[in-house]
């Protein structure tokens, strides 16, 4: 029983060991030279122009929420499609009801202007 967990224990030890080893070994080897470029968030990418703690458009959240709704819809549809041959007409009606409710929500969000950016 308990011996079944030995592979998991080994895995945990190896995973932790690898991370600790990498960090410790790197800190022993590297040279400590900090300058302005080095401390930037994206060391070899886009130059930051303003502070990161800034106000940004609420619409990002709206889009994110709309995305989640339709993402979840798909999550429900995949298992439904797999066992559709067992559910038959009843399953079809249930899915139509489900999608109808989502479409009502979508229509509402659309009419309320959630999809307009400007």
């Amino acid at each position: 029983m308990l011996s079944d967990y030995i592979p998991i224990a080994i895995f945990v030890v190896v995973a932790t060991g690898f991370a600790v080893f990498t960090l410790v070994f790197a800190s022993l080897l590297h040279s400590e030279k900090y300058n302005k470029v080095k401390l930037e968030p994206y060391e070899c990418g886009i130059e930051p122009i303003t502070d990161a703690r800034d106000r940004y458009s609420i619409r990002y959240y709206l889009v994110a929420m709309l995305f989640v709704i339709f993402d979840v819809e798909t999550v429900f549809m995949f298992p439904w499609a797999v066992i559709f041959d067992k559910l038959l007409l009843f399953g079809l009606i249930e899915m139509v009801v489900f999608i109808f409710i989502l479409v009502v929500g979508y229509y509402y969000a659309w009419q309320k202007g959630a999809l307009e950016w400007a």
Binding site: L87, F90, I101, V104, Y107, Y108, Q111
Partner: protein, 491 residues
């Protein structure tokens, strides 16, 4: 159609289906109707609630729907009527309030209907999964409703507090439920009950832990001390009609859930949860009343008073007899009307420039608007438990149920607490009738608010004088719950 599910099941779910369809209708009407048609939306919402109420009467008897996920019985019916009536009164209270606050009515009424739907599922749920879904539908709607007045910082703060604490308590409740499932192998309360009567599971420490966790989780929902910290801030910050609905509907639904879980699912553990609820009842009554004494904001005072009332209602659960359960139902019904009425008077005081929920706003109200003052007097007396109002009948029945079950000192503590509570209820009456200064604000009525007030006043007086019909219905409803099982388990 999958095995075991028939069209009959959908027939028994007709009220819930009507309400769901109605909620969608409100949402669509909001975008199709021209802007500023809050009155039309309120009418549609009231019609949906009326249609749902009517559809409750299309069948009778006791049924289990969809493999025992939902029970359709008189107990659920009793609570569904309470939810629908309180939702309707809340809508009546909200029309002008929303206009003053400038909030969009479509979403508001939609969320009220969604919360009602969650409550109805909760009242019928005899499976942990159904109970959880009902609870979430209700709670998520309330999280949004509490923060509905977006420019108001207090409203935002209340919503965040309620959401964070609510999510946390839900986690505790779920942990308890998962232990119950793990120990019994089923989520159905009625299948679970006999499993726990077995000699080896009964004294399992994990089962006791599960019971404690579930008690803590549901204790939050009814705002029992020491899980009550959220209530005053949320009640004060939320829009007043939402506060009313939260303190009435959410509380009644949570008590329905408690009765289902503990009487139907855990009668074997009666000695364990009885002592927990006994302690909760005593602490809740006492702390609620003592904290209410010093409040000068009426919504805050009513929040503490509603905490105290949850304590009184718990007495019926501790008694654990059919009489105790029917007393709980009676008290919840009465409490609904007196609490809604008190909040309606507070909404009356709301004007464009005055919030009107401070004690001083009510000073000398009798001389400016005698009817509103009289209604408030009636609700205060009823909340305090003075005859001939309904509140007296409810308290009388609760305490007599406790005495019946030989919990004498619990009844004594309840009576002492009612005496303490009279101080702060009467203090408001003193402000309204004996202070003659003109610092208070002027109430303004609309037909909708008058109707809401009239419903509450008539119910409070009618039940106080002629309680028999309600008592008989409540007793019949309590009988459909598995109370027989618990009385067999009692010594």
């Amino acid at each position: 159609m999958p095995a075991g599910v028939s069209l009959r099941d959908f027939y028994y779910l007709l009220p819930e289906l009507v309400l769901t369809g109605g909620a969608l209708l409100v949402l669509i009407a909001d975008v199709l109707l021209p802007r500023r048609s809050g009155h039309a939306l309120a009418w549609i919402t009231l019609l949906v609630l009326a249609a749902t109420l009517a559809s409750l009467g299309t069948f009778s008897g006791t049924h289990e729907v969809a493999h025992g996920l939902i029970a359709v019985d008189e107990f659920a019916l009793f609570f569904k009527v309470v939810f629908l009536v309180s939702a309707a009164v809340t809508v009546l209270m909200s029309v002008r309030y929303l206009e003053i606050e400038g909030a969009s009515p479509g979403e508001y009424y939609f969320l009220i209907l969604c919360a009602t739907l969650g409550m109805m599922i909760l009242a019928g749920g005899i499976d942990l999964i159904t109970i959880f879904i009902g609870l979430e539908t209700m709670a998520v709607s309330f999280y949004i409703l509490v923060g509905f007045i977006k420019p108001n910082q207090k409203s935002n703060e209340a919503a965040v507090k309620y959401f964070l604490l609510g999510a946390f308590s839900l986690g505790i409740l779920l942990y308890g439920m998962s232990l119950l499932y793990g120990l019994s192998g089923t989520t159905n309360l009625r299948v679970m009950a006999p499993v726990f009567f077995g000699p080896e599971t009964r004294h399992d420490p994990r089962l006791i832990l599960a019971v404690m966790l579930v008690v803590a989780g549901v204790g939050f929902k009814i705002a029992a001390v020491p899980f009550h910290m959220w209530a005053p801030d949320v009640y004060e910050g939320a829009p007043t009609p939402v506060t009313a609905f939260l303190s009435v509907g959410s509380k009644a639904a949570s008590f329905a859930m408690i009765l289902r879980i503990f009487l139907e699912g855990l009668p074997a553990m009666v000695h364990d949860w009885q002592i927990l609820f006994e302690a909760l009842a005593i602490v809740t009554m006492t702390v609620g009343n003592l904290a209410a004494l010093t409040q000068t904001n009426l919504k805050r005072m009513l929040a503490y008073s509603s905490i105290a009332h949850a304590g009184y209602i718990l007495i019926g659960l501790v008694a654990g007899t059919p009489r105790g359960v029917s007393a709980m139902l009676i008290y919840l019904f009465i409490y609904t009307f007196m609490q809604l009425g008190a909040f309606t008077v507070i909404v009356l005081m709301r004007r464009r420039d005055v919030v009107g929920d401070e004690l001083k706003d009510f000073s000398g109200l009798h001389f400016r608007h005698p009817y509103a003052a009289f209604a408030m007097l009636l609700f205060m007396l009823s909340l305090g438990g003075i005859p001939p109002t309904a509140g007296f009948m409810g308290k009388f029945w609760l305490f007599s149920a406790a005495i019946d079950a030989h919990y004498y000192w619990l009844a004594v503590i309840g009576v002492l607490n009612s005496a303490v509570s009279l101080y702060y209820y009467i203090r408001l009456v003193v402000f309204m009738y004996l202070k003659k200064d003109a610092t208070g604000s002027e109430p303004s009525t609309t037909p909708a608010l008058t109707v809401a007030l009239a419903i509450a006043v008539v119910a409070t007086i009618y039940i106080g004088i002629y309680p028999r019909v309600l008592f008989e219905i409540a007793e019949a409803s309590a009988r459909t719950l598995g109370v027989v099982g618990i009385t067999a388990a009692l010594p």
